[in-house]
């Protein structure tokens, strides 16, 4: 069965290997360029330089001008999981659509073994390819992350570390499940794309900021009380009074009245009243964030969620293959 799977996928596997090799070479080349620029321009010495350091400002702007466009381009690695999954799943779904699976099902092996070996090998390929992509991206972003420390930012979190593996395995399981249920390649692939995008976006927006309770810090003025690697969730949207009670922006306006609505006062007087109200209640603006040291914990939690979903989908596929197909 291992040989049969390889023989069925080998053309696709070689094409994907070639494409990924090419992309990998480009990432490698530009990554090496960036490292050498980083060294020659002396960027490292400017990371902690004050904002008004003229020489460092020039160096940093040269460096950013050269590599920010590439950084944006490589955000496309966000699409790697779904692309890998569709390419890997396509021969499997076509096998079902064209009815050729019946050839294997009428040899001397069970459907269970057929599905286990086939999807197992596909999952292995998905893991290896996505791991390669993630390692490349993690390495490539090294110098940029030292500068801006954006590892927790959307694209950086999604294309580095271990989550790309979870995404890819999940997308693959989704494609195999839809392919088995529908046995039509085009609708199955379309639904996979839609379903993957919905789940990914849903978990990123709804679940990820809440994996652990965020940390709130009071802030009045000056630099934000968060480090460059922390993940800032909100600022200026929540307020806290002296008793530790939280207020939304609207509630604060109800409490103190917005200065622009106080029409019977001069603007300066309205502002004074407003600030007096703030001080009276002890209101402080809250900066809400996830600290940088939770990065790997969050990566792990998100991976577990996607691998769990993939396992559920695989169980459904197995049940369907054993009980429902014909």
């Amino acid at each position: 069965m291992i040989w049969v799977t390889w023989r069925q996928q080998r053309l696709e596997a070689l094409i994907h290997g070639a494409i990924l090799g090419l992309v990998g070479a480009i990432v490698l080349k530009t990554g090496l360029d960036m490292l050498s620029s980083f060294r020659h321009l002396g960027v490292a010495g400017c990371i902690t330089a004050p904002v008004d350091d003229q020489r460092c400002g020039d160096i940093l702007s040269v460096f950013h001008q050269r590599f920010d466009p590439l950084n944006t381009l490589f955000d496309a690695f966000e699409l790697l999981p779904i692309a890998l999954a569709l390419l890997l799943a396509a021969p499997f779904v076509l096998d079902l659509e064209q009815g050729t699976y019946r050839l294997v099902w009428t040899q001397s092996i069970t459907r269970r073994r057929w599905l286990l070996v086939r999807s197992g090998l596909l999952a292995l390929a998905a893991i290896l390819f996505s791991l390669a992509g993630s390692l490349l991206m993690t390495w490539w972003h090294g110098p940029l992350d030292r500068l801006s420390g954006a590892t927790f930012a959307d694209f950086s979190f999604d294309t580095q570390g271990i989550v790309p593996i979870g995404y890819t395995v999940f997308a693959l399981a989704l494609a195999l499940a839809f392919g088995t249920l529908l046995r039509r390649a085009v609708p199955a692939m379309a639904l996979t794309v839609v379903g993957f995008a919905a789940v990914r976006a849903g978990i990123e927006v709804v679940a990820r900021p809440r994996y652990l309770a965020p940390i709130d810090k009071a802030w009045t003025s000056g630099p934000l009380p968060v480090g460059p690697h922390d993940w800032l969730l909100s600022k200026g949207e929540i307020y806290r009074n002296g008793l530790g009670q939280l207020f939304s922006w609207d509630q604060v306006d109800q409490l103190c009245g917005h200065p622009s609505m106080a029409s019977n006062l001069s603007p300066a007087a309205a502002k004074d009243t407003y600030i007096a109200c703030f001080n009276h209640y002890g209101l402080r603006e809250i900066v809400r964030y996830q600290p940088a040291d939770r990065y790997w914990l969050f990566q792990g939690m998100e991976s577990v969620i996607f691998l769990g979903l993939a396992a559920g989908l695989f169980a459904l596929t197995m049940w369907w293959v054993r009980n429902r197909v014909m």
Binding site: Y101, L103, I109
Partner: protein, 301 residues
């Protein structure tokens, strides 16, 4: 259990319509059985149930005493199956197909497969997709035979072939059957082929088994009776009337006899297999068995 294939009240429903119903059948081992019926009569369904591709909705099916669906490893190694559209991987070479067979079957006769393909002039390095329809059918048959099956199931394997390719295909089949130890169930529309190859006949029509008997006996026991117009009730008491056709003055009956017909007012004729089969198939639309009930409803074809 002695039967190669045994079914009891077997039924398969797809949605609301029955593809096969109340099918009770015993296929004795060693037979080369023809499975005949109009399109949609349930032939493919029966074969798919036998190989475990489909699950019965009602009743049971067993192959050499085991359930194809629940005990696949007791059934699959003993069955060779050639599906209607002969699913083969088009991007595989013929040699790759043999490798697939070798890898997926504990019992696999690679030497036999290679020598058969060589005799058929099918090169091993050709891609399956570039073979002619006849060659593809041959590859599918050789794949099925290389499992050294005890039961070979063929679903209209020659339907799409030209006469020469059909002949070659049946030749391969007959050679294999002559080697012994093989039971064959072959569905086809081409009655002349079946007559040449088969020794057992199963007629499936309107999702039900109409007849299952040795081919020689089928031809011996069926008679065409011609006589003055009358109600066939009397003869139906002793014999089975398959089809009744009435003109103004004459009644023609296709009868499956139970022993000799003594009534001298009937003129008896031998019938050819094709006529017998057509008579059974034409009954498929008349719901009560023909010869009984309202005769005016029985129309001639």
């Amino acid at each position: 259990m002695s039967a190669a294939l045994h079914t009891n009240n077997l039924g398969k429903r797809y949605g609301h319509s029955w593809a096969l119903r109340d099918c009770s059948l015993d296929l004795p081992p060693g037979r080369i059985a023809a499975l005949v019926g109009p399109n949609g009569a349930g032939k493919s369904t029966l074969l798919q149930l036998a190989v475990g591709l489909a699950t019965p909705s009602t009743g049971t099916i067993s192959v050499f005493g085991a359930s194809p669906r629940d005990q696949p490893l007791r059934v699959l190694p003993r069955i060779g199956f050639v599906a209607q559209d002969q699913p083969l991987y088009r991007r595989f070479s013929v040699a790759d197909m043999l490798t697939l067979g070798r890898k997926l079957n504990a019992r696999w006769d690679d030497r036999m497969a290679r020598s058969r393909l060589e005799r058929l002039n099918i090169p091993l390095d050709r891609l399956v997709g570039t073979l002619s329809g006849g060659q593809r059918s041959q590859v599918a048959l050789v794949m099925a035979l290389a499992k050294r099956p005890e039961l070979l199931l063929l679903d209209e394997p020659v339907a799409a072939l030209d006469p020469l390719a059909r002949r070659e295909f049946l030749q391969t089949l007959m050679e294999a059957a002559a080697d012994g130890g093989l039971t064959v169930l072959l569905s086809s529309h081409i009655i002349a082929d079946l007559e040449r190859v088969c020794d057992y006949l199963i007629i499936l029509s309107a999702a039900r088994v109409q007849l299952a008997e040795e081919l020689d006996r089928v031809v011996d026991t069926h008679k065409l009776l011609v006589g003055a117009r009358r109600d066939p009730t009397a003869i139906a008491a002793d014999h089975h009337v398959v089809q009744a056709v009435h003109t103004d003055r004459q009644t023609t009956l296709m009868v499956r006899t139970n022993g000799h017909i003594w009534d001298p007012s009937w003129e008896q004729h031998e019938v050819r297999l094709e006529e017998i089969i057509l008579a059974y198939l034409s009954r498929s639309t008349a719901s009560p068995p023909a010869g009984l009930g309202d005769l005016r409803k029985v129309r001639s074809l």
